[in-house]
């Protein structure tokens, strides 16, 4: 094979990846949904027709109409605006948790895998131990200690979500550690911190990114769920789970919109993230394709 054909093959490999992603229509749909929700979150104040906490006793529990696209709640607040602001809350909590848990998981996972031996053993047993406690329980315990609120919520989800990333990062690192180029870099005097940063991290990143995308969806679901049972975001902040919990009592008397719209927003966001994550996984690791 001549050099030129090699280059061509490589170029086609890159475009091949793009093709995989684009040919998987669902992942494009997912990416679009995610993009739209991020836009909504950023542009929130411009999009919301009425401030989300503006109380109006003349329009209590109105059903969806021209004036209030998603209807109003028991204080006459505009549900459309509240759902838009809810995107801000959910996505920012999600981003914070995912970014920190990814960083934490990456750091601990790669270092643990690279050092190996008893330190690695100890850290991994600890990770197993932490994984044995469902996130809901962790959140309950923390909510008991610190009281509900965004801070509790974020910490609780951090505690239970970095472990997955750590496991993946460690697994990848373990196999990379055996690779020739790590040995070779040691041979030219590279310190372990250098090797971790320049040679292991770039290879660990793709699979970790996939898992972070998928866990983003989980974080949003959990945020909503914990706020729904009263140990997450507290009123009067607009948050999807909280809006559902406030509208819950009206479902048996027919005011469906209080529950329907925020839930729909949750479902779409999470679905978008899941589809996007699946698409990314297909690109980076075709073996795991479902």
């Amino acid at each position: 094979m001549t050099r030129d054909t090699r280059i061509q093959i490589d170029k086609s490999k890159q475009s091949h990846r793009k093709k995989i992603f684009l040919s998987n229509k669902l992942s494009v749909v997912g990416a679009t949904i995610v993009f739209v929700f991020i836009l909504i979150a950023i542009l929130g104040p411009l999009l919301a027709p009425i401030p989300p906490d503006e109380i109006n006793y003349h329009s209590i529990l109105n059903s969806p109409s021209r004036a209030h696209y998603f209807g109003t709640d028991r204080y006459g607040r505009d549900l459309f605006s509240r759902v838009i602001y809810g995107a801000r809350t959910s996505l920012s909590i999600g981003f914070i948790v995912v970014i920190f848990s990814t960083l934490l998981g990456l750091a601990i996972g790669t270092v643990s895998g690279y050092l190996g031996g008893n330190i690695d053993n100890f850290i991994m047993r600890f990770v197993d131990l932490l994984m044995a406690f469902p996130s809901v329980i962790v959140a309950m315990v923390l909510a008991t200690i610190m009281g509900g609120g965004i801070k509790t919520l974020i910490i609780a989800m951090l505690v239970s979500s970095w472990t997955g990333t750590a496991r993946i990062a460690r697994g990848e690192t373990l196999s990379l550690k055996q690779s020739g180029y790590v040995t070779a870099t040691r041979g030219i005097g590279g310190k372990w911190s250098y090797i971790l940063f320049y040679h292991i991290l770039p290879n660990v990143l793709p699979p970790v990114l996939v898992s972070s995308t998928l866990s983003f969806g989980n974080v949003i679901l959990n945020t909503a769920g914990l706020s729904f049972i009263g140990i997450g975001v507290q009123p009067p902040i607009s948050e999807w789970g909280l809006i559902i919990s406030e509208g819950r009592q009206y479902i048996v008397s027919g005011q469906w919109w209080l529950v329907f719209f925020p839930g729909l927003a949750i479902m779409l966001t999470v679905m978008g993230l899941n589809l996007l994550g699946d698409g990314l996984r297909d690109i980076f690791d075709p073996r795991q394709r479902r």
């Binding site: 050099r3 090699r6 280059i7 490589d10 008893n118 053993n121 690779s179 020739g180 180029y181 040995t183 070779a184 870099t185 040691r186 041979g187 030219i188 005097g189 590279g190 310190k191 372990w192 250098y194 320049y198 040679h199 770039p202 290879n203």
Partner: protein
């Protein structure tokens, strides 16, 4: 008397296998057993042996990429065995002893450009202060290994095997080492490319006054460029002698078998030790001579007493009960 540039004393490496209760290893692989070597400056010392006999292990122990179980390594009169990462860096051991690996494709990180990979040793060891000096050095290195500068922007997999190995050689040279371990530098390459790389290595050795430890399982390669040859079997050195005497004067039955199989199979390009059976497991070593099970000329004492590496004549040593000086 001239002192060797590098010598090893009773170098030993065990690999634990299997983990039992409390992480205690179930058994050990005897990858390397009490290896004594003396390598003189500006020579090429060949290490010959079949797959799995511990050549790579020895190469990586000497370059301090693996920790020996016991034994010492002396480099220019310094004991470098006890040195840890920082000492090795501070005493510039990593720069002075370099290694070229068996498989260049595995050694070059797939996500980095050739440019990055070539600059890497210089940057890690902070050899130069200015970027322009680094650029100059890279140019010089590419010239030394006969590569064109266009390659710099490429990724490793966009290079041919021979080019990749040249890049590895350039990386090894960049720190101006005195001693280079070549771990089967041509075994992953086409025959036509092999010769080119070997010639390049010989040329470089003369220009830069380098000392080589060449690991190979190819007798012709060893004869072609080595000054001395050591034959290894199951982690032990079984014979050491001058390269030019190898074909005529090798005494050890294993060496003879190697020569014989090389002669009979030299028409085939890729000869290995196919005529021989598999060696015994390095986990459960036989009691007497390690070669006994396959030795065509063994005698009763071979199955009970482990032979020592004895001096036969000047510059020749052999580990066999049937070989004595006459």
């Amino acid at each position: 008397m001239v002192k060797p540039i590098l010598s090893t004393c009773k170098l030993k490496k065990l690999f634990p296998v299997g983990r039992g209760v409390w992480n205690k290893p179930k058994a050990y692989v005897n990858a390397l057993d009490k290896v004594d070597l003396d390598i003189m400056g500006c020579t090429t010392f060949g290490l010959l042996g079949e797959s799995g006999c511990g050549k790579t292990t020895l190469a990586q122990l000497i370059t301090r990429l693996q920790e020996p179980t016991s034994g010492t390594i002396w480099y220019k009169g310094h004991d470098i065995t006890k040195m840890k990462g920082r000492d090795l860096r501070e005493n510039r051991i990593y720069s002075q002893i370099q290694i070229v690996f068996q498989n260049p494709a595995e050694v070059l990180s797939p996500r980095r450009t050739i440019d990055f990979l070539l600059k890497e040793p210089l940057k890690i060891n902070k050899v130069y202060e200015k970027e322009i000096e680094i650029e100059q050095k890279i140019e010089e290195l590419l010239d030394k290994v006969n590569l064109r500068p266009e390659l710099l922007t490429r990724f490793p997999h966009q290079l041919s095997g021979g080019q990749q190995q040249r890049i590895c050689i350039a990386r090894a040279l960049s720190l101006n080492p005195d001693f280079i371990v070549l771990d089967e530098p041509t075994s992953a390459l086409d025959v036509s490319v092999q010769a080119k790389i070997l010639n390049l290595l010989v040329e470089l050795q003369q220009k830069e006054r380098l000392t080589y430890l060449l690991v190979t399982h190819d007798i012709r390669v060893a004869e072609y460029i080595c000054t001395d040859i050591a034959v290894m079997y199951l982690g032990e050195i079984v014979e050491i002698l001058k390269a030019e005497e190898f074909r005529q004067n090798a005494k050890h039955p294993y060496s003879k078998l190697l020569i014989e199989s090389a002669n009979t199979e030299c028409e085939e390009k890729d000869f290995d030790l196919k005529v021989l059976d598999d060696p015994p497991s390095p986990i459960n070593l036989p009691k007497g001579c390690r070669f006994q099970a396959r030795c065509p000329v063994s005698i009763p004492i071979c199955s009970t007493i482990h032979p020592e590496l004895k001096k036969i004549s000047d510059g020749t040593k052999c580990r066999c009960h049937r070989v004595t000086d006459n």
